[in-house]
């Protein structure tokens, strides 16, 4: 089943064209990695898909589960099961983790025509998912990401993903800035959530995460286009040879 189809996607930020014709097909059940050097447009692609203000699509189409993704608001995309794990998760003083989780889950369930979870069931669900990311219980009562370390923030993103159970998860550099233990926790979370109905796109600069999460497809982004696509072995080639040869090929 087709999860996501991107055709000839062009997008600009502040009038500068960053994405210059992206084509990508992702099926349900697949994990794709999007790699590439800094400035190649990886994060821009993630935010265009999530619907960030100021990211202007100038050409192309994005079809998500048969719908025109670009016609939906940011929150509608989230309710339709799209999840963006942030490279830099945002601090929200005064809003507790547990509150955000509940507001988010309720909004998603309401959209699906499901009833809100009662307080007990909700707490049981959250505590179960917290085990997955090895997060102590007190974290859910703290303000969202306030005073969290880099690793704690990334684990918090995975916790949110685990509670919301998205159909398509975009993880933007979720591996960056993590020590090896935190990386393993994040990777484990991703692996547990892999499933036949769910697709994942891992945006990453390094091959490191892919040692723990084995992708079905690897794409290399260079200068706003997908310059090369391959299987998991492509990530190993990049680890050995760097990005230079792909950028050189792309220029030919």
């Amino acid at each position: 089943m087709k999860m996501l189809t991107i055709k000839n996607l062009h997008a600009s930020v502040d009038g500068k064209e960053i994405l210059k014709g992206i084509d990508l097909d992702v099926d349900a059940g697949e994990v794709h990695a999007i790699m590439g050097p800094n400035g190649s447009g990886k994060s821009t692609l993630a935010h265009v898909l999530a619907g960030r203000d100021g990211y202007e699509v100038t050409a192309g189409t994005v079809t998500y589960q048969g719908k025109d993704l670009l016609a939906l608001s940011t929150e509608e995309r989230a309710r339709e099961g799209l999840f963006l794990g942030f490279q830099y998760p945002v601090e929200i003083p005064g809003v507790s983790n547990i509150y955000l989780l509940k507001a988010a889950l309720n909004a998603v369930r309401k959209h699906r025509g499901e009833e809100e979870l009662d307080a007990m069931d909700f707490l049981t669900l959250v505590k179960d998912r917290m085990k997955l990311v090895e997060m102590p219980e007190e974290f859910i009562y703290r303000a969202v990401n306030e005073g969290f370390s880099g690793g704690e923030r990334k684990r918090n993103e995975i916790l949110q993903m685990a509670v919301l159970e998205p159909r398509l998860a975009l993880l933007d550099e979720t591996d960056s800035g993590l020590d090896i233990d935190a990386l393993k926790v994040v990777a484990n979370g991703v692996n547990v959530l892999r499933g036949p109905d769910r697709a994942m796109i891992l945006v990453t600069h390094y091959q490191r995460l892919l040692n723990y999460v084995v992708p079905d497809r690897v794409h290399v982004l260079a200068d706003g286009r997908i310059a090369k696509t391959g299987g998991k072995e492509l990530a190993h080639d990049l680890e050995k040879k760097g990005y230079g040869w792909i950028e050189a090929e792309a220029r030919v």
């Binding site: 929150e75 003083p93 998603v108």
Partner: protein, 444 residues
């Protein structure tokens, strides 16, 4: 067009007319105090924007016509309609209607040797000597025209006396109900003995669409090591004028916490002033959440009058519609007040392009070994936070309300009195949600 009415003269004539019927006329000290007040008001009249302390707050709307002092039978209030505007706290309760104590709606604490809370007018009749030392001595007529006006007209209010080491377990909740088309002049006197502990809530309410003028004055004397948590909840009607003075004198080692919230009123001015003795501390927390055409001005003064005193101040504002707010925080460290420690913060959130805030710290430091800091911010909701919430399926309007509430709740969470905090949380939430729908409240 009629002949312009001289509002000052109207108030002075009214003050002279009630001079023989107000409480305490048999006490010469009080007669003199009232005379001083009338003289003071005659001299100055209402302040104008030419006065530095009133630069950003014009009383033109208040002084367009004179409000007559509320009659003794002003406004009938039942338990039910009190409930519609009042907080339902597990507390001792003193209710004032038309500026006068309403025994049927009240349940004051049992009077024993250690604690008294009751009508100021009755205390003036029965125990005037207790009051002479304090009444008009902390919040003097010379502190301003409105303080003078209150003193000239005051007919009643609350008198709370705590003996040494008295501990009042239940909070004392004072409710002042505005009188339609009239002026009330509530007067509160709190005298807290050495090492006493209490929580007192002053709560100003009015009914929807009623215009009136509430000119309140509160005096607080804390003896050595007394601890008072003082709450001030201002929920006047959308057409109400509220002027509130709170004057505090803190003896050695006393601790004063003020938690103030302004939600109501059309034109509101609060003056909060405390004088810190040696080793005394104060924490002044304030929140103003205004919309429509509301105008709320908070002036605070902290006098570090002796050594080793500490002050913490956090005022936050949420402004929507065409609302306007003023924050002016003066901190004065006297020459002998070495090792004073003062921190002041004022943060403002503007939700509309038409809202306006004027914020001004005033630090006057005359000692050399002190720690003083201040900071003020004015801003909008953070687009990154909004985006993050929206990627978590929260719609934009809710995300805005949520972030606004979180900003304001930073003050409310400091309110130790849980039932009050929970109630205010709910009121604030209601208000923020209404803020978008009812953006405009027409001027009277």
């Amino acid at each position: 067009m009629g002949v312009p009415i001289d509002v000052k003269q109207t108030y002075l004539a009214a003050a002279a007319a009630v001079a023989d019927s107000v409480p305490g006329t048999t006490h010469s000290w009080l007669r003199q105090l009232r005379e001083r007040s009338r003289d003071r008001f005659a001299e100055t009249g209402f302040p104008t924007t030419r006065d530095e302390a009133w630069r950003y707050t014009s009383l033109a709307a208040l002084t367009r016509h004179a409000f007559a002092p509320a009659a003794a039978d002003a406004g009938s209030v039942s338990k039910d309609n009190l409930q519609s505007v009042g907080l339902d706290l597990p507390a001792h309760r003193l209710v004032f209607v038309g500026g006068r104590y309403h025994a049927a709606l009240s349940n004051p604490p049992k009077t024993d040797g250690a604690v008294f809370a009751g009508s100021l007018a009755e205390s003036l009749a029965h125990a005037p000597d207790q009051l002479q030392e304090y009444l008009g001595a902390i919040g003097t007529p010379e502190m301003g025209a409105l303080a003078a006006l209150n003193t000239a007209f005051m007919v009643d209010g609350a008198y709370i006396h705590l003996g040494p080491k008295a501990v009042v377990e239940r909070p004392i909740h004072l409710i002042y109900v505005g009188a339609p088309n009239a002026m009330t002049t509530p007067r509160t006197l709190i005298v807290a003995g050495e090492e006493s502990v209490a929580s007192i809530v002053e709560h100003f309410v009015g009914f929807d669409a009623q215009s009136y003028f509430c000119n309140a004055l509160t005096e607080i004397a804390l003896a050595r090591a007394a601890k008072l948590t003082y709450y001030r909840v201002q929920e006047e009607s959308a057409h109400g004028f509220h002027i509130g003075g709170v004057h505090v004198r803190q003896a050695r080692g006393s601790e004063f916490v003020s938690n103030a919230i302004d939600l109501g009123g059309l034109l509101v001015r609060n003056d909060l002033r405390t004088v810190l003795g040696e080793g005394a501390s104060c924490a002044l927390n304030g929140l103003y959440a205004v919309s429509g055409r509301q105008h709320v001005d908070n002036h605070t003064v902290i006098e570090h009058a002796a050594a080793n005193s500490t002050s913490r101040e956090l005022y936050k504002g949420v402004l929507d519609g065409r609302a306007r707010a003023v924050f002016n925080g003066r901190v004065r460290v006297h020459p002998d007040a070495q090792k004073s420690d003062a921190q002041q913060t004022n943060n403002n959130l503007l939700l509309s392009d038409d809202a306006e805030i004027d914020t001004k710290p005033e630090l006057e430091i005359y000692a050399d070994d002190v720690k003083c800091s201040h900071g003020a911010t004015v801003g909008q909701l953070d687009p990154n936070q909004l985006y993050y919430l929206r990627t978590r399926a929260v719609d934009e309007a809710t995300a805005r309300d949520l972030l606004t509430f979180a900003f304001a709740n930073d003050v409310l969470r400091r309110f130790d009195l849980a039932p009050l905090r929970v109630d205010l949380d709910r009121r604030l939430m209601d208000r923020l949600l209404q803020g978008r729908v009812i953006r405009e409240v027409e001027l009277v």
